[in-house]
């Protein structure tokens, strides 16, 4: 009798264990995960919108301090920068225009185009990944990415282009978007030129124009 009861008790325990085992395993795994996470350094991890916004604000201040006032205004108003090709001295088209230029978008390829016609030439995919991933991401703030591209282009266009992956237009940046942006840029430059003229009229021609006259000329011819 006792033997029978004992056997039944053992069978019952084994049966209960088999039923409970998946739940126990899940609970243990969850506990282990919580323990591992609690052991990690309490430093910043993951995406924090507030931190990213503050980083972007810092990056904008830095960008502004490094580029021309006119370029800063362009970036602030339009969200991208236009940089003339540095081979322009050799490659000037009729009328002394730069033969090509780039649009710099944050975290997008450089888009090369012909200012006189608006024709898109190539996309140059280039990134500046920080593999130390201090906050879990290798991605610089938007304005830092723009500044890095601007500095690299201004300093050594050939090297940057050599490091980039070249693609035909439309691979990552929608050509329709680029054309819209070129139209916006042309309008922006016209308005700015008009503002400059009014300003110089008021100042009796004494004020210094910081605008690059090529820009307005080129933009005027873009979509003529």
């Amino acid at each position: 009798m006792a033997l029978g009861l004992g056997t039944a008790a053992i069978l019952l325990v084994v049966l209960l264990w088999e039923l409970a085992r998946p739940t126990v395993k899940r609970a243990l795994a969850r506990g282990r995960l919580i323990w591992v996470q609690s052991r990690r350094p309490s430093g910043p991890a993951g995406y924090d919108p507030g931190r990213e916004r503050r980083a972007e604000q810092r990056a904008r201040v830095l960008l502004r301090s490094c580029i021309d006032e006119r370029d800063w205004a362009m970036y602030r108003d339009l969200g991208f920068l236009r940089v003339w090709g540095t081979q322009r001295e050799r490659g000037r088209g009729p009328g002394g225009h730069a033969s090509y230029a780039y649009l710099i978008y944050p975290h997008k390829p450089l888009v090369a185009y012909v200012p006189q016609t608006g024709a898109l030439l190539n996309e140059y995919c280039v990134a500046f990944p920080d593999n130390t991933r201090p906050y879990g991401s290798s991605r610089l703030p938007d304005s830092d990415d723009v500044l890095a591209k601007w500095m690299a282009l201004a300093a050594d266009e050939r090297r940057l282009i050599a490091d980039a992956n070249m693609h035909l237009p439309g691979r990552q940046v929608d050509p329709a978007r680029v054309r819209r942006d070129l139209t916006r840029l042309a309008r922006w430059e016209r308005e700015r030129a008009a503002g400059d003229e009014h300003g110089s009229d008021r100042a009796d021609g004494a004020s210094e124009r910081t605008a690059d006259p090529r820009g307005a000329d080129c933009a005027d011819t873009l979509h003529a």
């Binding site: 980083a55 830095l62 490094c66 370029d71 990944p129 130390t132 830092d144 500044l147 201004a154």
Partner: protein, 87 residues
């Protein structure tokens, strides 16, 4: 002179700051400069003043940094490709 480094999730940080005419401070600047280059960073010196055309130059050693430069900005070296999904 200030050595700045672009940093994801933060913006720029000041790595070192000092007067290049003070030997001890210059030495610290040089050490910080080398550390960044050894870590694979590019170094750029923004040039030009307000009102003048702004430019930048890439430098590969501290000796190439103009003595009058106010800032050297380090940023990760360029790599082909874009990081569309990396956030």
């Amino acid at each position: 002179m200030k050595l700045l480094r672009m940093k994801p999730g933060h913006g720029e940080i000041v790595l070192a700051e000092g007067d290049v005419d003070v030997p001890e401070q210059e030495r610290e600047l040089i050490e910080a400069f080398r550390r960044e280059l050894d870590a694979g960073m590019w170094a750029a010196v923004p040039t030009g003043s307000p009102g003048a055309r702004r430019e930048a130059e890439l430098v590969k050693s501290f000796a190439e940094v103009p003595r009058e430069a106010e800032r050297v900005i380090f940023f990760p070296r360029a790599a082909g490709g874009a990081l569309e999904t990396d956030r």
